[in-house]
């Protein structure tokens, strides 16, 4: 807590404590729980005292610019990289515990397979390592839409097909936790839609997903919560809607001049701005009904009234460039 206080992190009502309480996983440890996670390579601190909690059944977006420490964090979560300090728990146990990764699927920093084997043979090899029944291979190949080309050698696959195979490998164990690093990388638009739908389906089926992505729109579409990492530190963590924040109201009305005049009278002239044939009002979004009634009462026809939200991209750049810290 002292470290968080020094960094000025604000924790709000959406933050769950690390102790197993509340939520769908009541009484169960969180799928992912990292505390004070730190990785140093010589003088470079790649990850700096990172706290991360992914709750059961959620899709958690992990955002950050290149070199922010995302992949180092994911590798530490999976036991590939040893933390310099801090702890990692997957379902309450360290990732290095025997059998701990038996129900954890992962695709880290792009797919890598044996080029001389076919897609199906690669999965067969991985199934043997994990002691999984080979019967699931066909299932996961169909899930990612690669069943028709599964007999082809991996070396001949396109980037998108390699990516699909990587996701298939992650699904091989019927995972309770799925850690995906840029899962839609290399996919065509239709493939990206399919992949996002698959992730949502898996989450709906109870699988927890930790998704690292550069595609902010993607994160905005499929994630329940988002953590933003910059300079190895978690600079924001919150629900997507909360992170974007409602900053005001947008009104489109007729006549606009009358709407602007009435709004200035109600809110003060400094809180009303004419933008693109409408008005941006610096007012709490929960006052929308009151404002609507006032405008209608003044003879203004309100054609559109909606909360003004920042785009996640805008939030991302604000957080990562300013280095501000906000954990809601």
């Amino acid at each position: 807590m002292a470290a968080r206080a020094r960094r000025g992190i604000v924790r709000g009502m959406t933050e769950h404590p690390s102790s197993p309480a509340g939520g769908p996983g009541a009484g169960q440890p969180h799928p992912v729980e990292a505390r004070g996670l730190t990785k140093r390579y010589g003088r470079l601190t790649a990850v700096d005292a990172l706290d991360l909690t992914v709750r059961s059944g959620e899709v958690y977006g992990f955002l950050g610019p290149n070199g922010a420490g995302k992949t180092s964090t994911l590798r530490m979560l999976l036991g590939l990289v040893r933390p310099t300090a801090g702890t990692v728990r997957l379902f309450g146990r360290p990732p290095s515990a025997p059998g701990q990764l038996a129900r954890v699927g992962a695709l880290i920093e792009g797919p890598t397979f044996y080029p001389y084997l076919s897609g199906r043979e690669n999965l067969r090899v991985l199934a043997r390592y994990a002691g999984n029944p080979p019967g699931r291979i066909r299932t996961v190949l169909e899930m990612v839409g690669l069943a028709d080309r599964a007999g082809d050698r991996y070396v001949g696959y396109s980037l998108g097909m390699k990516q699909r195979l990587g996701v298939a490998a992650a699904l091989l164990k019927d995972p309770r936790l799925l850690i995906l690093d840029e899962p839609t990388n290399g996919l065509d638009p239709a493939g990206m839609v399919d992949m996002r739908a698959l992730i949502r389906r898996l989450a709906a089926g109870g699988c927890t997903v930790l998704l690292s992505s550069h595609l902010l729109g993607e994160v905005q579409q499929i994630c329940d919560r988002v953590g933003v990492i910059s300079g190895g530190r978690l600079v924001a963590e919150s629900g997507v809607a909360e992170l974007r924040g409602a900053t005001g109201l947008r009104i489109v009305a007729d006549p606009l001049a009358a709407a602007a005049e009435r709004s200035r009278a109600l809110l003060g002239p400094e809180r009303v701005r004419e933008v693109d044939g409408g008005l941006d009002l610096a007012v709490e979004p929960d006052r929308a009904a009151w404002l609507n009634a006032e405008l209608v009462g003044a003879g203004v026809a309100v054609r559109e009234l909606r909360p003004l939200e920042r785009d996640l991209e805008q939030v991302f750049f604000e957080l990562t460039e300013a280095g501000m810290t906000h954990v809601a």
Partner: protein, 273 residues
């Protein structure tokens, strides 16, 4: 460990390089142990191998002939196979794929060692098989009697060949883990096997007593000594009775253990990047 062994076996069998290396080993063994000496014997021409007499190519000498290449050039094949098996995971970036699929590093490592042990045994058995066929053909062609080694001698020879091959495989495993790749481990391993060992034996040892003494503790001369003790002819590169068979066996077993333990510790402690 057994699931890892099963997975590694599939990879080993399906990798084209495995079969290419086996083919190269067979060709080298047949050409330099039987074909070239027999050709020299037939036309009586000069050269390095001309002093080999016919009886050195007959079935009675099968054990020595079959393992005579392992201290140097067939050892290089074992080293390359091991580097491909372990270093290939670094080169293809597949360590993360297989380790995140569930098994522990120790289980994967033991699986790789087991499959290398099996592959080395298969290589040695194939060398004995092609040696048996080659020597039998020569004996029949030259109307010589077919006197085979005893089963006990064959067993000892196969065991010794496997031990020598595994020492070089273990050396390859250590280099692959240490240097995290394929090209440099193979390059450095071959430099040691084919160049440094020969330079030490042929150039440094005759003029420096401490180098000659040091030879008794190096893996190459011990491998050559063990092969020599089992009948390998001294005109084969790397063959020479520097120490006795017992000492050579113990020394080689020590090297094998040291190589795989050191590589195992390194693999277990290092980050997979």
């Amino acid at each position: 460990m057994w699931p890892s062994f099963a997975a590694e076996s599939v990879k080993m069998v399906r990798r084209p390089g495995t079969w290419l290396l086996l083919a190269v080993a067979v060709v080298l063994s047949v050409v330099f142990t039987y074909l070239a000496p027999y050709a020299a014997y037939l036309d009586g021409s000069g050269g390095v191998l001309s002093d080999r007499t016919l009886d050195q190519m007959l079935p009675e000498r099968l054990v020595g002939n079959s393992i005579s290449g392992l201290p140097v050039f067939l050892g290089a094949i074992c080293l390359i196979l091991a580097v491909l098996t372990v270093g290939g995971e670094y080169a293809w970036g597949t360590w993360k794929t297989l380790l995140t699929s569930g098994p522990s590093r120790l289980a994967v490592y033991l699986g790789k060692l087991l499959v290398l042990a099996a592959a080395t045994l298969v290589l040695v058995l194939v060398l004995f098989a092609v040696g048996a066929v080659s020597s039998a053909l020569i004996a029949v062609t030259e109307s010589q009697p077919l006197h085979w080694p005893t089963l006990g001698d064959l067993g000892v020879g196969i065991g010794a060949g496997w031990l020598i091959g595994m020492v070089w495989a273990g050396f390859g495993v250590l280099l692959a883990v240490l240097l995290r790749g394929v090209a440099l481990p193979i390059g450095l391993g071959l430099v040691w096997l084919l160049a440094v060992q020969n330079l030490l034996a042929a150039v440094a040892a005759p003029i420096l007593d401490w180098v000659a003494e040091m030879q008794k503790g190096l893996p190459g001369p011990n491998a050559g000594s063990l092969a020599a003790a089992l009948g390998a002819t001294a005109d084969t590169p790397g063959i020479g009775a520097v120490v006795g068979a017992g000492q050579a066996s113990v020394t080689l077993a020590g090297y094998l253990l040291g190589f795989i333990l050191l590589a195992g510790v390194l693999l277990g402690r290092r980050d997979i990047l």
